[in-house]
Symmetry: C2
Subunit: 365 residues, 2 copies
Amino acid sequence: MAAARHSTLDFMLSATADCSAVFKGLQPIFQEQGMTETIHNWEDHGYLATYVSKNGSFANLRIYPHGLVLVDVQSCNDLSGGDVEQLLNKIEERMKELCHRNIKRVKRLPAIVRGDAIDKYWPTADGRLVEYDIDEVVYDEESAYQNIKILHSKQFGNILILSGDVNLAESDLAYTQAIMGSGKEDYKDKEVLILGGGDGGILYEIVKLKPKMVTMVEIDQMVIDGCRKYMRKTCGDVLDNLKGECYQVLIEDCIPVLKRYAKEERMFDYVINDLTAVPISTSPEEDSTWEFLRMILDLSMKVLKPDGKYFTQGNCVNLTEALTLYEEQLGRLYCPVAFSKEVVCVPSYMELWVFYTIWKKRTDV
Amino acid sequence: MAAARHSTLDFMLSATADCSAVFKGLQPIFQEQGMTETIHNWEDHGYLATYVSKNGSFANLRIYPHGLVLVDVQSCNDLSGGDVEQLLNKIEERMKELCHRNIKRVKRLPAIVRGDAIDKYWPTADGRLVEYDIDEVVYDEESAYQNIKILHSKQFGNILILSGDVNLAESDLAYTQAIMGSGKEDYKDKEVLILGGGDGGILYEIVKLKPKMVTMVEIDQMVIDGCRKYMRKTCGDVLDNLKGECYQVLIEDCIPVLKRYAKEERMFDYVINDLTAVPISTSPEEDSTWEFLRMILDLSMKVLKPDGKYFTQGNCVNLTEALTLYEEQLGRLYCPVAFSKEVVCVPSYMELWVFYTIWKKRTDV
């Protein structure tokens, strides 16, 4: 299916615009292209001229009297993008003749591709627009829990995207290292519990460190299946079997598993929470995200040895309010805990990310 | 000056669109807003409906018959963005009623802010659109050589942008470490030459390592002045004086300086080329970027001790052609050289970056 290319060209003027003069100066450029014109003149709010061409492309010329001239061109991409660039070049030249030293800024953004089979736009957690260098849809399936996409980025390798959130790319060992304690922990002969972690990155890295036993509890078999096949730089061969010498993968909701372990008084040296930011548990008990998070934390503390550590990812560093709320939850657990945090650059995220280390405060002193 | 917010909402349909039915279904939503309608019907290429509102905002509804429905709304930001979001919500609901299971993808990008005093859009070197979390223009001046901007990013701190290229942010110690050899070099008692480097990052980090003498040659005093004031996380106090116990900063074009040193047979243990990607030398001799780069390389090799090392940044990892061309230049120097490269994640770049280490091949063996 043909996608549409949406190109923009913006002029900020240092003075109010003579709307009529700008309009009359640019009009011939569109007319030369054989485009049909429709004009709206607000008197108070300037001009909007719409130009329609026979091949289905169209342009908007919006002139704001306070000194803003915005041009949009939308065309189907079976047309050459070069034609549009030429049109915009002509407009830029003409504007420089018309407004000369009055132009404070000229801005031409990379064209936005809309409705392409390959979607390259995956906004950051703090809501900014970013275009990825995606060149292939490797995997795209709906599981019982979420949409699972694995997209190939030229620089980051394959990227796992769960329900629209960039989760992890093959370039992102920095994420896995951060959520394992940034190389400061000794996993040898330790008992480890991983909540989520379906991409296999944490499991793969910990197994190399000769732990006693790693238990990973991932709800979504399809994430494991997709990552085993397409995220091998991240998970190596660790997901080829759900059981290994020193690890087991349970395909289960982690809530009942945590409850079972708590009841059995099974304890871990490390609990690593790698669940998705938006919970997908099937447990009916949680009635808000924060309560769900607190339940996970409480249950995790119950299965954590007194000198054990709990690692988790927090949020992007810019969402300070969400981070503060999370930290408030830590003061509301059944047992007193302390925490530290670290800001890490995860290559594919395009934003800095906060990771938490949480431990039980000693009550015997 | 009021900026304009440009919002988009795109629907990809799994089948060809009944353009007329979609148009008639969505039309009332715009009419309810009291917007004036202009319709263009291509027969072969679908519909374009333009809706103009009294307050100066307008919308485009473009229906492509192959199954793409694109909505654009542009409004001045003294209007509440919430109104536009509500309009888009209504369109999304109506589309879901109209097309039901035929909708393959709904995509609403973060609104693009056009003509704002703070420009947040700084495309990557490989031409992708990225929005930064800029909240303040700290410095914006034209020097004799280039436009110098220092913008404040919430997560990256102050960012130095030279003629539109993101150069370095206060978060980017990773860049400075990479161009110094990634911690594998011993700078103690060494002679170091820095070409460019006006942000002071390299100088600041090397001076800590007790070199014998560092000479930095930066052409643009205004870059130094701006960074001394606003990039202090990067340069510390090192730019407060152009001379220190073990360093000097020359405000000069590096070409004549290199020629002078070559003539004097002054030699360095390390030459670090931190010049901007697009040359701004005033020397008249270069007639192409590649020849300029080769001249810099040749002159640098002349002042490099036989066992010395030359460090430089290359390009983003995706521009493979430019990287290959650069490596070809290395085979055309006056003396044989070898090189290695490293890919590094520089936080504020939003793309992986290649750094080079170059050294003279030994000819005595």
